[in-house]
């Protein structure tokens, strides 16, 4: 029988020698150009990192190609980043440009460092999940094609982190992104009374609903949904498969902006609703791509240097954000969940637009 609980391979065995020698003794770094980092150690040694974009959904052959490249230039050492980019790690400066040339010849985008748009953190979508309200890889590919130049250059006021999650479970953790793309359902799940009794536990189904829209119907061993209280989060479906929620006509995408994670300058923040709904239009989701591009461009032309999307909006005000982007403000933008009153404007300080 196979050994269990062995855990992952020890990362120390995966570190390139230059890192092993200088582990924890780095002195400073420079971004030599977009996608290329130089980290200099106290010893004076330097580590070069070349960052390349990846679709994340990769075939084994693609991984082998990455391995080929890493072996050719990096003695076989590489890593992936927390945003799913590939980083080639090397200590020989002379190999940096040839590596980049080879990456270019194989159509790997090099970039994603500094004031750029890095890879889009995303999720499974129609490729592998059971609750998506949209696809993940498709909208990401369509969007990255359009904003490609922001990946390979560093021309934005600050870095812009985009994430996509295909349902409210938010596996893409879009809740703290500069720009977030979130799949949403908009149809009240219909309990299938023939299947609920066998497949679902009534109390946990009732408990799963954030707004208390579900009532147990003990007599018929099923549940009922109060349409008016349901905001289509799909959590009941996660708990009770007999409450399908997907609906081709009404599923789609919402856009959120202004979140961040780092503690730099301002504290981490949640993303806030910008556009409540855009339709699913595969294969290239033009409405979504345009909406995100518009936000990026308005941001790029109005924010100050080092100002993240959320910091810019907070400085100029949300009134201004909506007037500059031309996005209509609706009653859906006003929170009505449990801490809604915290978001209401309890002051006469505001801008006219």
């Amino acid at each position: 029988m196979a050994k269990t609980d062995i855990g992952p391979p020890d990362y120390k065995t995966m570190l390139p020698p230059v890192i092993q020698r200088n582990y924890g003794k780095w002195l400073y770094h420079e971004i030599l150009k977009p996608g290329v980092l130089m980290h200099v150690a106290e010893s004076g040694e330097a580590l070069y990192t070349v960052r390349a974009g990846s679709p994340r959904l990769v075939s084994t052959d693609h991984i082998r190609e990455i391995c080929d490249i890493a072996e050719k230039y990096c003695d076989g050492y590489l890593r992936f980043t927390s945003r799913n980019n590939i980083e080639f790690l090397l200590d020989d400066k002379d190999k940096v440009e040839p590596l980049i040339a080879e990456l270019a010849s194989r159509n790997y985008p090099v970039g994603g460092t500094g004031h750029s748009i890095s890879n889009i953190v995303h999720t499974q979508g129609w490729v592998h999940c059971h609750t998506p309200a949209t696809d993940a890889s498709g909208p990401v590919k369509a969007l990255m094609d359009e904003i490609y130049d922001y990946f390979i250059t560093s021309t934005l006021p600050a870095h812009v982190r985009i994430a996509l999650a295909c349902c409210l479970n938010m596996c893409g953790a879009v809740h703290c992104s500069d720009i977030a793309i979130l799949g949403i359902h908009r149809t009240v799940p219909k309990p299938d009374n023939s299947r609920v009794p066998n497949m679902c536990e009534i109390p946990s189904t009732v408990a799963s609903c954030p707004t208390g829209a579900i009532r147990g119907d003990m007599k018929n061993k099923t549940v009922t949904v109060n349409d008016e209280k349901c905001m289509y989060c799909g959590n009941c479906y996660t708990v009770c498969p007999a409450m399908p929620i997907a609906d081709p006509e009404n599923d789609g995408i919402s856009i959120w902006v202004g979140g961040k994670v780092s503690n730099a300058r301002s504290a981490p923040k949640f993303s806030k609703l910008a556009i409540p709904f855009l339709p699913n239009n595969p294969p290239r989701w033009p409405e979504v791509v345009d909406a995100v591009k518009n936000i990026i461009e308005v941001y790029a032309s109005h924010a100050r240097k080092h100002e993240r999307v959320g910091e810019w909006i907070e400085r100029v005000g949300w009134e201004r954000f909506f007037s500059l982007t031309g996005i209509p403000f609706t009653d859906k933008h006003i929170d009505d969940f449990d801490m809604a009153t915290e978001t209401f404007r309890t002051s006469t300080q505001f801008k006219w637009r």
């Binding site: 420079e30 059971h130 490609y148």
Partner: protein, 396 residues
């Protein structure tokens, strides 16, 4: 010319960004599973709806998680993805790989699965995307032989993740890689055998830039920080001053506490007011470095919105030294998990439980003192509970 079977997906092979469709087609050439996956996805693109059934439970011997069961709702059309389960694999901490390890993984996966992967999943695992029920155990056996193990799923600890930290970064205040790896090894049992009320995630960033988004994406967030003065290298400050960096405008004016002074010659930092946001250090990495006394801030409660709304982790220990074997840290984690386990309802994340019972009860439960660093501001509502021992009891 043959008409393409995937006209919609073909559109996504256009454009400059690397295409997942190309990768799927590549895999489809070797694997009938991948081929059917491609066709089913094309159908989804046409129908604008997913074609997977609600997941079922599958797994390997001795483990309670690590595999996500998945079945097609159109096995009539796509028999090769009738069952198409995902295996989550503990990644080497920091996502460092030697190519031979990666090649081993690929070989195992070509043997047992679709040949498609996510490098990596949002929690950090290497995701092996799609295999049949029969292949799960043999695949696991081969993975184990190749030195890999499963990650978590269900109501378990998930694979902890860490920023690159001391592996490459000059700002690392803690050894994020070692802490993360050590905890991963220590808690293997909790990863593989779900016994919690719900999922539990740990993420380690070695400084407040938080490059693994630990504050947003983990129930237990470990973030490096320091005490004492930011180290200033005056010569390098001067060098920056003559570069195109505007120290006053770009550095000092954006310092959140306005604790920096720059007179075009000398840079002064009133460190007692500094909240260690990293901004100045980020902009002047050659001139400024985190202070000497290094450790971590511990925060808990981060999570996505389901059920009670998204939470960012909040401070519960402002400063803790982190040195192997990390006994104090591990004991704290155990105390917190025990308290959570005892008190939580099913599917209640740690943050939601604390929200429900109150920090007061949590702190007492896990034996931590209340300190002002835990809050942005003290309470404004007057609904203050007193402990029984605070109250003078009448003898009636």
């Amino acid at each position: 010319m043959e008409k393409s079977k995937t006209p919609l997906l073909d559109e996504l092979e256009k454009g400059k960004w690397p295409s997942f469709v190309t990768d799927m087609k590549q895999a489809a050439q070797k694997s009938p599973m991948a081929e059917d996956l491609l066709s089913q996805l094309e159908l989804s693109y046409k129908d604008k709806i997913g074609h997977w059934k609600h997941g079922g439970i599958v797994g390997v011997k001795g483990y309670g998680g690590g595999v996500i069961g998945r079945y097609s709702d159109r096995p009539d059309l796509f028999p090769n993805v009738q069952a198409f389960h995902t295996m989550r694999i503990n990644h080497p901490t920091g996502w460092f790989y030697k190519t031979d390890a990666l090649r081993n993984l690929c070989d195992v996966w070509d043997k047992h699965g679709s040949g498609l992967t996510n490098m990596h999943g949002s929690t950090g695992d290497a995701i092996l995307l799609g295999t049949t029920t029969e292949h799960i155990q043999p695949c696991f056996d081969d993975l184990s032989a190749a030195g890999f193990d499963l990650g978590g799923s269900g109501s378990a600890l998930r694979t902890p993740s860490a920023c690159v930290g001391p592996g490459r970064c000059e700002w690392a205040c803690i050894d994020s890689l070692d802490v993360c790896y050590n905890l991963t090894m220590e808690f293997q049992d909790k990863i593989h055998r779900p016994m919690f009320p719900y999922k539990f995630k740990i993420k380690v960033s070695a400084c407040p830039n938080d490059c693994v988004a630990s504050i947003a994406r983990s129930d237990f967030s470990i973030i490096g920080t320091w005490k004492g003065k930011i180290l200033i290298n005056p010569a390098e400050v001067t060098a920056y001053a003559s570069s195109d960096l505007d120290i006053q405008k770009e550095v000092c004016d954006l310092c959140p506490t306005k604790c920096m002074e720059w007179d075009s010659k000398e840079l002064k930092i009133h460190d007692e007011d500094c909240t260690r946001c990293m901004h100045c250090i980020n902009l002047m990495p050659k001139a400024l470095r985190p202070g000497k006394e290094k450790g971590a801030t511990i925060l808990v409660g981060g999570k996505a919105p389901i059920v009670e709304g998204a939470l960012l982790s909040w401070v519960i220990v402002p400063f803790i030294k982190l040195e192997p074997p990390y006994t104090e840290l591990k004991e704290l984690i155990e105390r917190i998990q025990d308290w959570w386990d005892e008190n939580a309802k099913s599917r209640e994340r740690l943050g939601e439980l604390i929200k429900r019972l109150g920090m007061r009860v949590f702190l007492r439960g896990v034996g931590l003192p209340a300190v002002p660093q835990m809050v942005k501001a003290p309470r404004s509502n007057p609904y203050v509970f007193f402990w029984p021992e605070d109250i003078k009891q009448e003898v009636k």
